[in-house]
């Protein structure tokens, strides 16, 4: 009887039998949340298209978890609204929203096997045990853990536990999948592996997904669009390429990827010059200094080359082999610059030698000299 009653909470339009979910749009509208004096979210606007993979990226404490929990209904909001599939769900508790969530800490129920964990949401919805077993089997197969179906959480590795948690979240065929730094407790190799798996699964299932991380590499490799957050605000929302190559704010420029700050002059609408390095193309936006003005020119490590030069202005301080690339650090007047160069390039400089730099691409941002 108890089970029948809650089966009504399966949202209309979500087929639990179907393999592929119809992605829905999700929107946070002017969501504000304060804890005492701390403004964790400050009128945050964020919208995802149906089936989109959105990664929320930002430093620790910027409000990513709060935003995700507001979406899930696990955190109350002071003002604003949350829409899932066009419906205002701001007043609904988490158990009534159609969400699947994977937590940062291991969240499997310790008294249940993997299979029972995956079945949990279906049991809540009153599915028969035969139906539950069948679906849990499918889900565990999907995350490649069918052999571990009878294992308890404490008998599995961290990576396996998070995969079961993912299967459990997807088993209820939610409209939205939320993941809060699900990989942060895992070691590097498992992390990279699981990252791929999550991406692939998301594509196959087609579910609208929000993934929180503070790791920019993770963000750029997973996202359809990256939401860069800072201080409870959205700094930029764009494709990984947009966020990396044309950051809209100083914060994004310095938080996502490595940047080198050169001093130079704005030449015209398209080109800025760094003395002895060369010309960088750039895109004008509001606040860019006028042609002829002095400016700070922000350049990615790949947009410069370095060559040995006895008369060069730069001193090579460090050369690190990274596999297919080499990272070179050079110094000039107390500032450090980072250059990434292919390992197969013939002319790799040695630490301690002098070198000069050459422009080879575009600047990501040109701003007035602070």
């Amino acid at each position: 009887m108890m089970e029948m009653e809650s089966s009504k909470t399966v949202p209309a339009g979500v087929s639990v039998q179907g393999a592929k979910v119809q992605g829905v749009s999700v929107r946070l509208s002017k969501v504000t949340r304060t804890y005492g004096d701390v403004r964790a979210l400050s009128e945050l606007d964020l919208a995802a298209s149906p089936g989109e993979f959105v990664v929320m990226l930002g430093p620790s404490g910027c409000g990513k978890t709060t935003a995700l929990r507001a979406l899930a209904g696990l955190e109350q909001i002071d003002s604003g609204a949350v829409y899932i599939g066009g419906k205002d769900v701001s007043r609904l508790p988490a158990s009534k929203r159609s969400i699947g969530m994977v937590f940062q800490s291991y969240s499997l129920f310790p008294n249940m096997t993997s299979a029972a964990n995956v079945e949990f949401g279906l049991k809540v919805r009153g599915f028969s045990s035969a139906e539950r077993r069948k679906q849990a089997h499918e889900m565990l197969e999907m995350v490649g853990l069918i052999e571990q179906a009878d294992r308890f959480p404490h008998q599995m590795s961290g990576g396996q536990q998070q995969r079961v948690a993912l299967a459990r979240a997807l088993a209820i065929k939610p409209e939205v999948l939320l993941l809060d730094e699900p990989l942060s407790a895992l070691d590097a190799k498992v992390r990279a592996n699981l990252r791929e798996q999550i991406k692939q699964l998301q594509r196959e299932v087609g579910i609208t997904t929000f993934f929180v991380t503070h790791d920019q590499e993770e963000a750029l490799s997973l996202a359809d669009r990256v939401a860069v957050m800072n201080n409870g605000n959205l700094e930029q929302f764009g494709t990984p390429t947009e966020v990396y190559s044309s950051p809209e704010t100083d914060f994004v420029a310095s938080f996502v990827g490595t940047v080198n700050v050169f001093y130079g002059t704005v030449l015209d609408d398209k080109v800025a010059i760094v003395p002895n390095v060369g010309n960088f193309t750039y895109v004008r936006r509001t606040g860019t200094p006028a042609p002829g003005d002095r400016a700070e020119i922000l350049v990615r490590p790949e947009a410069i080359t370095v060559k040995g030069d006895l008369e060069g202005e730069y001193l090579v301080s460090d050369v690190t082999f990274l596999g297919s690339n080499v990272r070179i650090r050079v110094q000039k007047e107390g500032s450090t610059f980072t250059i990434i160069q292919g390992s197969s390039d013939i002319d790799i400089v040695a630490p301690g030698s002098r070198a000069s730099l050459d422009a080879k691409g575009s600047a990501i941002l040109v701003r007035s000299k602070l």
Binding site: P93, A94, S95, M101, S105, N111, F120, G121, V124
Partner: protein, 295 residues
Amino acid sequence: MASVIGVPAKSSGVGGSNVLRVGKVFRAVVLGAVGLFFIVPVISSARFSFTGSSAGFSFSAYSKLLSDPQFWSTLFLSVKIGVGTVTLSLAILIPTTVWVHWKAPKIRRVMEALSLLPLVIPSVVITLGVITSFGSLPNIIMGTPVILALEYVVLALPYTYRTLDSGVQALDIKTLVEAGQSLGAPFRKILWWVLLPNLKSGVLGVVVLAFAFCLGEFAVASLLSFTTFAVYLVQIGQTQASEAIAFSLIALLFTWIPLSIVTVVFSRRAGKKSRRGGGVLMSSQSVTELVELSE
């Protein structure tokens, strides 16, 4: 400490194993001494109960007791009070400890300190307080053993609260509850399907401790003029020495037999569920918790 169980102790090289061995010997000696201290009086009183003041071996003390109707009625009263106390303690403590860990982990210390108060305030004082302040309550509470059960819930708090609290502490309550919610479960299902099964050893600890407390408590029961099992034991002891000893040995059996059954059943069930390791871990956890509390 519950979370440490199952993690293999790290031995720190050659020097470490020596220290470990000395530690083991020391532990054995202490445990042995404590064991003797406990077992010797039991054995000698057992002997006394069979011989009495007269010479020769006889069961007369026991047969007299077991055919005494008041022995059975007081035992029944104490069991009733015990069941009531256990039920009420669980009904109050499970929601409280879960709530504290989930919503207000900051007040954990305060709650713990509060739960220890009955140890600091003499039970006589508490009882006088109960009599004076609740004297006007309807007879259905004040004049019946219900008042005793209510008071035992409070007096047993130092043991019961800590036991359950450490069980809850070993779980990540917030995450488990939220995971349940995100899967669509209402709180009562999370409680039944997730929290309680994982709190088995803590709940078991509360049952054992609260029940044992009720069977053995004398001062409050006699102050409120209820002839409970323990009160009757003292009454008999004033006139018949060997019966009183027999009585207390029976009381010991009555406490430990049901408790051992409960313990075995509980840990067997836990063992069946998690074939490897889990059961052992579960029962060893409840045992360590009990040992710790009784120290």
